[in-house]
Symmetry: none
Subunit: 289 residues, 2 copies
DNA sequence: GACATCAGTA
DNA sequence: TACTGATGTC
């Protein structure tokens, strides 16, 4: 019987085994994830904390994932931080860390932007341990956040073939949402081969923004690209889109994926290629618009 | 009988004498203190006005001093502005100016940060006169604040030899207090030779910040220095400490002085070396922690 | 990203 | 009146 099994016994209340383990000073860390830039995690949590109060961070050897519906069940958040996004990553067993994002925000506020952030959890943990180290190591702060049991609403999100995929600068999308939200509650997104049109109508008048597909080879990050199978036009709540745009600082570009009668997918790629922060938003239908 | 006694008569209500004095335009100024930067005084008052409503500014030829307990008698504020801190300072006789800090704040709000502030008071004054001059002298504003009688609780504060004296950047201390106050009402400060640890526990979890003693010769103002006679660990109310930290703008560094079972002294040096703003806070004991 | 200001709440 | 969260500017 190795340390691994001992640890399980300890957690189940075998005090003797637990003592032995502690005497052997064997902290049974199951998860240790070291992120070079605390900022990335801060921004991710900032971007989703207004949508979701509590959620599970599902950890396994491929990384840390999160999925949660917003309170009104209109939007869905999905994050994936692949192990490769970390400076060091170890996860010996699948664990789900139920965390209150308000508490997490309070703790992350204590991190300097360039601090090194390390998440640690034991097997069957009560708390998640978060440390921030300045690069100079003169200051080390350490926090434990109590975990909570959160009903895992398992959300099968089918990988859809979208009718249209728009890639554009994240700041541009943020600006459009902010500008149009001054006029109306909702925005229509219409996509055709050579362009995309965001439009809305409200009490004081109406507005629209047309973006042409561009291909500036010198500044590819400023490009708007549209991959389209068929034209699509859908209407969405601007309040939610503005909210999603809090993630704009995480990435230079954002992808909007649309299909008729299917939730819009707003995707921000993270640090490495595979990691991402995704928001899904159901379209408004008929009179809702 | 000199002017001096005349003035006393006038103050005692002899209208005839008062008129004569006014006609003779003889303002019997006892105190005139000219401060090059109104900002210093603004910040001092800002930093203490939430702790103390009314207090006496005790003026004598060595400067202006202030001592007051907070309302709950847990904390004590002590300020000393030595005469040398002023561009010009004259105080012919000891006077105690009882001022409502709310009123004073309202008046100080009218001062530009770089204005020259002058405090004036007559002998046995009803009011304190405050003027603000722009450095260019284009604008002079003048205010009188009514004085009040405040019971002088004379507070003998013994100069203690502290078990530990920590000097650190004021902003760092402010940040630690702010960060930890998100988790708990109180913080334990533990001091050992090579470092100091601030830690707390609350409903959502626990947190701690370790600072190592540093000696960066290039940026000495960023250093953390610890002079320690014996290890010490005490617990304090974070609400008060956060409050004290409003003084952070007054000084790059702050000194924390601790001894067992004795109030913590938090000291911000002011303009010149000798002047200071000090806060004392009784430790929490036993179950209070 | 940090700061200051502002509005709303306790 | 003071603290909190939120917003907008530097």
């Amino acid at each position: 019987m190795g340390y691994h099994q001992n640890s399980v016994c300890a957690r189940r209340g075998n005090a003797l085994v637990q003592m032995q383990v502690q005497v052997a000073s064997m902290p049974l860390i199951m998860l240790e994830a070291r992120l070079a830039q605390a900022n990335v995690f801060k921004k991710v949590v900032d971007a989703i904390k207004d949508l979701v109060q509590d959620c599970n961070f599902d950890c396994n050897d491929s990384g840390i994932a999160l999925q949660a519906m917003d309170n009104s069940h209109v939007a869905l958040v999905s994050m994936l931080l692949q192990s490769g996004a970390f400076e060091g990553f170890r996860c010996d067993r699948n664990i789900s860390l139920g965390i209150n994002l308000g508490s997490l925000t309070k703790v992350l506020r204590a991190a300097g932007p360039d601090d090194i952030l390390t998440l640690k959890a034991e097997d069957a943990p009560d708390v998640v341990n978060i440390t921030f180290e300045t690069t100079s190591q003169d200051r080390i702060s350490e926090y434990d956040i109590k975990l909570m049991d959160i009903d895992q609403e398992h959300l099968g999100i089918p990988e859809t073939e979208y009718a249209a995929v728009i890639t554009m600068p994240a700041t541009e999308f943020q600006r459009i949402c902010r500008d149009l939200s001054a006029l109306s509650e909702s925005v229509a997104i219409e996509c055709s081969k050579d362009g995309v049109k965001f439009s809305c109508t409200g009490d004081i008048g109406s507005g629209s923004v047309h973006l042409r597909s561009t291909s500036d080879v010198e500044k590819p990050e400023n490009n708007v690209s549209i991959e389209m199978n068929e034209p699509v036009s859908l209407t969405f709540s601007l309040k939610y889109l503005v909210n999603f745009c809090k993630a704009s600082g995480l990435s230079t570009s954002v992808k909007l994926m649309l299909s008729s009668e299917v939730p819009l997918l707003v995707e921000y790629p993270l640090v490495d290629g595979g990691s991402h922060l995704r928001f899904y938003l159901a379209p408004k239908i008929g009179d809702d618009e």
